[in-house]
Subunit: 320 residues, 2 copies
């Protein structure tokens, strides 16, 4: 039995070597405790680009930033981590770190770049009517940026810097700014840094030495091994570096400054969806400024190529 009587569906699949659109993917099977959603819109994130290069070992349909509808037509999105709910890690409230978890479109679970996606019911978040699809597709990446505020205390007396002028860098800069902290956004491309808007100071990477080691908190959102060394040039003694960068492969790095200057390096990953939804509803973050292009599902291959261009902002895939 298939839900709604479908047998096949349209969607994107990565088979280990190539990412392709297919018109004949097997439809999603219903499962106890999970719901099947009709996908409206999905975003391409750097993790998806890594998946398409085979870096993460994932096979199947990617996509974890999305807006969908329940069978009753209610707009929703969903948490990307699906914890087992049974293990010690889940018992201590760290379900996002459950060793048995699947992760939507990333680990052991098909994602949202298809007509339908199945997600655990308890991970669902309704999307308020006031939010457009174009705003709501940023709930997941904004939550990841908001995670920083769960981990680090900031206030109006704080000086913060964000290294990396990509999408997560901008969202992180906005999130830090929302605390009242003074924020400096550091990147390679002046034209990208211009997106920051008022209230965010900018600095091109080549001038980073002029900033001094004055920042209480520095976020590395570069996605490259150059990010942490740059962050260590900016952070003050006893300051905090928030590491958002996951890099395939190894760093060659001198960690002695971390010890000598008693720096704290804080790994930071997924964040609170409810807070992201509330922040978008309040209108404080103009996330649609980040959208560069939207492709129909059938042209997902082109969408991925576009998203992979240096300096590309957010590329979306319209499913329905």
């Amino acid at each position: 039995m298939r839900q709604g009587g479908h047998e096949i569906m349209r969607g994107v699949v990565f088979d280990g070597s190539e990412l392709t659109f297919r018109g004949d993917l097997p439809d999603v099977e219903p499962v106890e405790g999970e719901v099947v959603l009709n996908v409206r819109l999905a975003g391409i994130c750097d993790t998806d680009l890594q998946i398409a290069r085979g870096y993460l070992g994932f096979r199947g349909t990617p996509g974890h930033e999305f807006v969908a509808e329940t069978s009753e037509g209610r707009r929703v999105t969903a948490e990307i981590n699906a914890p087992c709910g049974q293990c010690d890690t889940c018992a201590t409230g760290r379900g996002n770190h459950c060793p048995n978890r699947t992760v939507l479109g990333i680990v052991g679970r098909n994602g949202a770049m298809a007509e339908r996606v199945r997600v655990p019911e308890r991970g669902l978040h309704p999307i308020p009517d006031a939010l457009s699809d174009h705003q709501a597709v940023f709930i997941e990446p904004l939550a990841a940026a908001l995670r920083i505020l769960d981990q680090v205390e900031l206030g109006s007396a704080s000086q913060a810097a964000v290294v990396g002028d990509g999408k997560l860098g901008l969202l992180s800069a906005w999130v830090l700014r929302s605390t009242g902290a003074r924020v400096t956004w550091v990147g390679k491309h002046p034209e990208k840094l211009a997106l920051g808007g008022s209230g965010i100071a900018t600095c091109v990477l080549s001038d980073v030495e002029t900033q001094g080691r004055t920042f209480d908190v520095v976020v590395d959102a570069t996605g490259s091994t150059g990010g942490l060394p740059t962050a260590l040039k900016l952070v003050r003694t006893c300051g905090i570096v928030v590491l958002k960068t996951t890099v395939a492969g190894t760093y060659a790095i001198d960690l002695a400054p971390i010890v000598i200057d008693e720096i704290r390096v804080v790994g930071s990953r997924c964040g609170p969806f409810s807070k992201a939804i509330a922040a978008l509803q309040s209108g404080q973050f103009d996330v649609t400024r980040l959208i560069e292009a939207e492709y129909p599902l059938e042209r997902a291959g082109e969408a991925f190529q576009h998203a992979g261009r240096p300096g590309a902002r957010k590329v979306l895939i319209r499913v329905r």
Copy 2:
């Protein structure tokens, strides 16, 4: 004018290529705000061994773990960091990180491996009569271990591990244990791990995979680039790695687990002398167990050779 009328003194000097005992070092000059002390006993630490290999660029008399007497015969030791007291970093209470600081026997200031040493008056700590010289010479390294408790919260429900079976590893294990935490001490040498005593579980490095990633806090006190990767095999998700290791040169390391598992890496250096003195007075740490040998000042070269043997415990230099 020289204090006490001396012109020369006996002491150790590192000239950039060799560490030697000299009978004709220029005596210490008095300076406003500082006091000249008569050294009784000094300890050799791994930093001193690095100095003797020329790694730290220091020239002069090493020695920062010591017991001395004031001109009135009162036993004292002293903080090793001498902050400027004028800069922004000092103003915010982080004098140990003052960018203009000198560090006793390590940066820009002669240390205690000589008949006399000069230290800032406000860094002096009287040594209680109840403490022997052999206990008091551990005030500085014990303070460094106690620094961990300033940075990390631990309680009887905590599971902690210390990696590295050297002197700082043992002091760290004892300090963590003193909080009531369950402590596992990990090292290469079973005969060194036997020093831990009751209440400290031990694990040889080759068995580290059997421990699981279960520890809330893991201290890397290895002094080698192998320490952090081992710590990351032991720490639980959202756990803390305290990095005590400063290594000359670079790590080649995969930092992705820090982000994915949201680990906190906390650099940790010098600690609170007053707490170390109180802890030694309370008798809770049997530090003299760590002493391996004591040499007279004239035989400092031999003492350094001894301290540099693999597995050596604390080697002391008796000055008077």
